[in-house]
Amino acid sequence: MPQTHAPRTDGARDLGRASRDTAAELRAATAARLRGAHRAGVRRARLVVCVLVLMLLGLLAASLLLGGVKRIPAGDVLPAAFGLRTGLADYVIFRIRMPRALAALLAGALFGLSGALYQRLIRNPLATPDIVGISAGAGAGATTMLLFAPAVPFGTSLAGLGGAFALVATVLALSGRGGGVDTYRLVLVGIGLSAVCTAYVNYLFTVAGQHGIAQVMRWLVGSVNDATWEGVSTLAGALAVCGLCAALLGRSLGGMALGDQLALGLGTRVGAVRIATLLVGAAAAALATSVTGPIGFVSLISGPIAIRLVGADRSVALAVPIGAVIVLGADVLAQHGPVISPVPTGVLTALLGAPYFVWLILRRRQGAPA
């Protein structure tokens, strides 16, 4: 209530008019406040997006400019990034640094998207694709393809997708019980199944030949070291398709945040939306994993940060640039950070993300919405 009126003493008529006035005032004030709140929300979201875009541009510049080879003049970097130079600049910038930076950015965006989708759907901040085991399933599929049929075009991505979908189906089938899916059972079953996938990848590591070991190592730690333009195009396509699907699902997901019954009443096809969201989230995580390996904890961190910055309604959209900033930032740090560099990107995200995970399980109250 914005204001309260003192009761009037001069007659019933005045009182009636006054209360009519009061009601109108109240309505107007509430509407203004809501509009104001909405506008403030939009302003805040815009501000946050602007800051994130600036951070991304800064990190992108850092990723392109920093490096061991000092002979490339800064003026050549921008043209070289678009393939307009030849020789050393072309090789270093266009073949190595640019795909690497873009792969980190796009993979981060996909991890952020998939994590936020799962967190919003399952309404538990722990239910992200890497905790539930989807990244491990995708890694197992992709590694198999890479070792045994490396020549198939986009084979690793497709195998990663297959592995991820198989894992989602298994986890759901095993964690469902008498209709409902219990969130914590989902997480526990996911932990168990990802142990199998990790053991399998470990096994592949020990049987892989000298060439294969480098490839498998990527799936053990997650890195964008050997990113190529083919990988970047896979990621870009994945982000476009998954982002579009997520945008289409957005309104229904907002409705489902009110609870299944209410969402059904509002005309949302709850079952179909749930399956679609699970598949889109799994596809985003799987395609990112198939290019970079499992870069852990990004999908876990992005969603809650987005919620804290702009609230739950816009969190899925905002988790995309946040994930991108996290992975690109972690990659710049992993390559050029003092003392520790160079390390695989996934090592850094795990070292930063796991303490956050601990903090999350320490402070979350059970049943609180994501």
């Binding site: 722990l126 905790i131 095993l174 964690s175 019980r177 219990d182 914590y184 059972r185 997480v187 526990l188 079953v189 932990i191 168990g192 199944l193 142990a195 199998v196 990790t198 053991a199 399998y200 470990n202 096994y203 590591f205 020990t206 049987v207 070991i213 190592m217 053990l220 730690v221 852990g296 904890f297 520790i340 160079p342 390390v343 695989p344 996934g346 090592v347 795990a350 070292l351 993300g353 796991a354 303490p355 995970f357 601990v358 399980i361 320490l362 402070r363 979350r364 109250r365 059970q366």
Partner: protein, 349 residues
């Protein structure tokens, strides 16, 4: 698994001892299984050696010949190491479950083995540690630090129940630990490859460590055997146990120390092997019930049978090579873990 007496029930100091005929059956069965996996592990492998020749080699230890070398220097030490490590993991798993009253507790699941592994890697890199003897002390420190850390985090979570909180804490700590390992060794490809092989737990080529690890493992196992009564009393709950004259904190600490010692000895010898303790402890309890005086020794036997059986199976499933025992135990243990996670009483324990 919490099978303590409910408050309304008459306070029995210890759960009923299994009926004698059943106990006899279980003892005979356990002995037979142990003998079977031992024979299989010695008799089966990449190189076919006929049973008759094996008997001949065993009867004449000094005899020359390649087959004799294979048996005496590889298969027999490896089998004995597997039995020891399996028993250690089985006992460690059962004690951890009893102490935390958590059916999912286990040195691998709780990340204690990964913690041990990190300290072993630290020792190799910075203290020039080598040999299982040196590994052991590092692994012991790492296990203890990690166990305390996981326990502190796990008991303070709001994640539904302490069962799940502990598992989530273990997963988070294990993730940090394994990325620490990578961070420490990633710059040297050769060291990295070597340590990756170590951090995939396996028995291959570890037979010569038997002599080094045996003192620690045997100490742990001997210390564990008399713990059955203490664990029985602790499982009745703190109040009851205190009423029955037990110093709860000291008993807890002593039991946890034994569990950590066993886990450290096993990890120092073969690297992290998950799920053996989990499966062994549950199998033992299914066979003889909740009385820890029975289930603790049986859990050791189950662990030994499981580890040696998995190792032997890993040698046979593929030609020209073998699957590491930790991969085999993950394949066997995960269905079990998932089955436990699906139980109705678990999630809201």
């Amino acid at each position: 698994m919490k099978q303590s007496a409910s408050p309304a029930a008459p306070p029995t100091p210890t759960p009923a001892r299994p009926r004698a005929p059943r106990a006899a059956v279980v003892v005979v069965l356990a002995g037979l299984m142990l003998a079977a996996v031992t024979i299989a592990s010695i008799g089966l492998g990449a190189r076919d050696i006929s049973p008759l020749e094996i008997v001949r080699i065993l009867l004449h230890p000094g005899a020359e010949g390649y087959n004799g070398d294979v048996l005496w220097t590889e298969r027999i030490p490896r089998t004995l190491l597997g039995l020891t490590v399996g028993a250690a993991l089985g006992a460690s798993g059962l004690i951890m479950q009893a102490l935390t009253m958590n059916p999912l507790a286990e040195p691998g699941v709780l990340g204690v083995e990964q913690g041990a592994a990190v300290f072993v890697v630290l020792g190799i890199l910075f203290l020039d540690t080598s040999g299982v003897h040196g590994y052991f002390w590092m692994a012991l420190t790492g296990s203890a630090v990690t166990a305390v850390l996981v326990f502190l985090i796990g008991t303070r979570t709001n994640a539904g129940s302490s069962t799940i909180g502990l598992v989530l804490a273990g997963v988070a700590v294990a993730a940090v630990m394994s990325s620490l390992i990578t961070l420490l060794v990633v710059r040297d490809e050769a060291v990295y490859a070597h340590l990756r092989f170590w951090s995939v737990g396996q028995l291959t080529g570890r037979g010569q460590f038997l002599g080094q690890v045996l003192p620690f493992a045997l100490t742990g196992l001997l210390l564990a055997l008399p713990l059955g009564r203490t664990l029985n009393l602790l499982s009745l709950g703190d109040e009851t146990a205190r009423g029955l004259g037990i110093r709860v904190e000291r008993a807890r600490l002593a039991s946890a120390a034994v569990a950590v010692l066993l886990c450290a000895a096993a990890t120092a010898a073969v690297g992290p092997v998950a799920f053996v303790g989990l499966v062994a402890a549950h199998t033992a309890r299914m066979l003889v019930g909740a009385d820890h005086r029975w289930s603790l020794p049986l859990s050791m036997v189950c662990g030994a049978v499981l580890l040696v059986g998995a190792d032997t199976a890993g040698r046979l499933v593929i030609d020209h090579g073998e699957i590491q025992v930790s991969v085999m135990t993950a394949l066997l243990g995960t269905p079990f873990f998932v089955w436990l996670a699906r139980r109705r009483d678990l999630v809201r324990m």
